[in-house]
């Protein structure tokens, strides 16, 4: 196994910082790796390389898309940022004006008060609208939890009771995600709602405490096609209105372009390409991105497109391929590709790829 390099000297990161200098940065991952140990006697000591040497910057008010196949490590990336698991190595830095050096560094698992204040700022929307709402509680209970836990009940005036204030906030929240009339939804249980409505409740729960960073893990992939776009529009409206920073995870390149200013393409736990949406989609430089681009349906480009075709599946992450992780499937593979991991290099300002080409 290759040890991830120390993040401080990675030139790609510092350049990315300058690209974004018009916007403030809010979150930075520096060479973050996450390895899951395999809990099996026979394979004791082996690990799954879910994430290796992942570095990127999220700007304040930016929507950054993380694109990749299943097993590429995109959900793991969101999960470690959300502090669902501790990271194996590297560091996550969250901008923090109260701290002397301007950011809070996280390299171990947070707990107690620290975790609470972290979660107040960083929230996640989960993929499965059916599995992420507790079926035994009403929507009112589910949505009031974040207000109570994070102490966000705001009374309009002295005379208003806390309970009444919470109720008012909940109704406002439901209206803002398009669930009207709110009272009708407050008394319902998750199973009484459709998939789209449940995902709206999920999004409402995430937005309720107005986090600065929202990690959206394929929030529309389990919804019907006709409602996907309205959920995407709703998230964009929220994001623009409150200037939240969004990490939008998807396997759909077109959806990523629709949502995000910049796109990070991941493959087998590593970043392959990073750049603005148009650079990544229109001028894809990495063979894997080219392949993704060519495989995605795009009838607007004519019905008889020439395509790149490749064989094989995503590699095992227990024994990832040596060198570039994409080399076994790459149509442009060279001798050195199987020997060394290519570094992230810039092809144009702010647009980097992990490839020798």
């Amino acid at each position: 196994m290759t040890r991830p390099r120390s993040g401080k000297s990675d030139p790609a990161i510092s350049r990315l910082a300058t690209v974004n200098d018009m916007t403030e940065e809010i979150l930075r991952l520096e060479s973050v790796s996450k390895h899951f140990p395999i809990r099996s006697f026979r394979r004791f000591g082996e690990v799954v390389h879910a994430m290796d040497d992942v570095s990127f910057i999220l700007g304040k008010g930016e929507v950054l898309a993380l694109v990749g196949e299943s097993g590429s490590g995109k959900t793991t990336t969101a999960s470690v940022i959300a502090q669902l698991y501790p990271i194996t190595s590297g560091v996550i830095r969250l901008a923090d004006p109260r701290s002397p050096n301007g950011f809070q560094s996280v390299s171990r698992k947070l707990s107690g008060k620290e975790l609470l204040s972290y979660r107040k700022r960083v929230q996640m929307i989960f993929q499965d609208p059916f599995g992420s709402l507790n079926p035994t509680h009403t929507i009112e209970h589910i949505l009031s939890r974040p207000y109570l836990i994070h102490d966000k009940v705001v009374r309009e005036n002295e005379g208003e009771k806390r309970k009444a204030a919470l109720k008012r906030q909940l109704q406002q929240l439901l209206r803002s995600v398009g669930l009207e009339p709110p009272q009708q939804f407050l008394d319902k249980f998750p199973h009484e709602l459709s998939g789209g409505q449940r995902q709206r409740v999920n999004i409402a729960r995430t937005f309720s405490i107005e986090p600065e960073i929202v990690l959206a893990d394929e929030p529309t992939s389990m919804l019907d096609v006709s409602i996907r776009i309205s959920i995407m529009n709703m998230m964009l409206a929220f994001q623009e209105e409150r200037q939240m920073s969004f990490l939008y995870i998807t396997h759909d390149l077109a959806g990523a372009r629709y949502m995000a200013q910049r796109i990070v393409v991941m493959y087998a736990g590593m970043i392959m390409e990073i750049g603005t949406s148009d650079e990544v989609v229109q001028r894809s430089a990495h063979p894997y991105t080219k392949l993704l681009r060519s495989a995605a349906p795009a009838p607007e480009e004519g019905l008889m497109r020439k395509r790149l075709i490749t064989q094989g599946d995503i590699p095992s992450l227990i024994h990832p391929p040596s060198g570039c992780r994409f080399h076994p499937r790459c149509p442009y593979v060279m001798a050195q590709c199987s020997k060394t991991i290519p570094p992230l290099k810039e092809v144009e300002s702010g647009h980097s790829i992990r490839c020798f080409l």
């Binding site: 996907r228 776009i229 019905l303 490749t310 599946d313």
Partner: protein
């Protein structure tokens, strides 16, 4: 559609099928007609619950318990099979029409080796001996690019894409004339999806079978189909050559679906999608079923059910607006 009668291999005429519930009959497929020619690729698109899977099951006569074909006809090679006895249908399945089921992950028996599952149909149809069955199975595995040594593998030893290809191999075993693919690639990644689709197209050219491809991914379907049928609430609302339907969509629902897929090129415009949700099929709205969600509805839409009318040669739409 009617003029294609003589050469069509599979035909549905005014088919009504669905599920008998306590609350009433769910008309999941309500008056669907289409004709599929030899070697043709028909794409059926629609949201979940629009009846596309029920239609496939009706054609395969895979109805059990409360599922029923109420009226209409299914013709295979000109022969009415709507109420043919089960024995006759058994001979038809796999031999003449085969199906690749949704979620290949669960469609294979986890405790049987794939070789055994592949040869099962061949042996049941008494095509020959075990040795010949194995030879044929290896042949079809090769067609879908699965190495021979996987013949004795169990499903869990294969990746999702490979399992899906095994399902396609199984559908090819007896060289049927029609293969129905029900969301064969929805659970797969785009790159794997594309390889499988290219494979199907290649095999179709070689063996000249017809395909019915069911999915909700309209943008994919437009690229791969000859004919496209858009289903909504149990009815086909638009039908025609794929490029016709894509470049000149007539029905507001088709237009709404098209506005639901972000594009990979061109300017990024905020898209609308379709407001609201599909109707209850036990008690569907009177008139056009789409009118409660339709942006272009006018007086009368809630009264009369618009029939499929020809808007351009071969292109039909069930909407009287323009």
């Amino acid at each position: 559609m009617k003029e294609t009668l003589p050469e069509s291999i599979l035909e549905c005429q005014d088919l009504v099928a669905g599920y008998e519930l306590k609350a009433g009959f769910v008309r999941a497929v309500d008056g669907v007609s289409f004709a599929l020619k030899r070697g043709e690729f028909l794409g059926i698109a629609g949201e979940s619950g629009c009846g596309k899977t029920t239609l496939a099951y009706a054609v395969m006569r895979l109805f059990r318990d409360n599922a029923k074909i109420k009226s209409g006809k299914i013709l295979f090679g000109g022969k009415d099979i709507t109420h043919a006895p089960e024995e006759e249908i058994k001979k038809l399945r796999w031999e003449h029409i085969s199906m690749v089921f949704q979620s290949a992950m669960n469609a294979l028996n986890p405790v049987l080796q794939i070789g055994e599952q592949l040869t099962d149909g061949w042996l049941a149809h008494k095509r020959g001996e075990v040795r010949e069955a194995k030879a044929r199975a290896l042949e079809v595995l090769k067609l879908v690019d699965i190495p021979e040594d996987r013949y004795n593998a169990y499903p869990h030893q294969l990746s999702g894409g490979m399992k899906q290809r095994v399902m396609i191999a199984m559908a090819l075993m007896l060289q049927p004339e029609v293969i129905i693919l029900d969301e064969p690639t929805t659970a797969l990644d785009v790159v794997v999806q594309r390889t499988i689709i290219e494979k199907i197209q290649e095999l179709r050219k070689t063996f000249r079978f017809s395909v019915i491809f069911i999915t909700h991914d309209l943008s994919l379907l437009v690229e791969i189909s000859d004919l496209l049928a858009i289903m909504y609430a149990g009815k086909i609302v638009e039908y025609g050559p794929a490029s016709e339907v894509f470049y000149n969509p007539v029905h507001p629902y088709t237009r709404g679906l098209m506005a639901s897929f972000p594009t990979l090129s061109g300017p990024i415009v905020r898209m609308g999608g379709i407001e609201g949700k599909p109707p209850d099929l036990i008690d569907p709205p009177s008139g056009c079923r789409f009118y409660p969600r339709c942006p272009d509805r006018h007086d009368g839409c809630d009264r009369d059910t618009p029939p499929l009318r020809q808007v351009r040669p071969g292109h039909f739409a069930a909407c009287d607006g323009e």
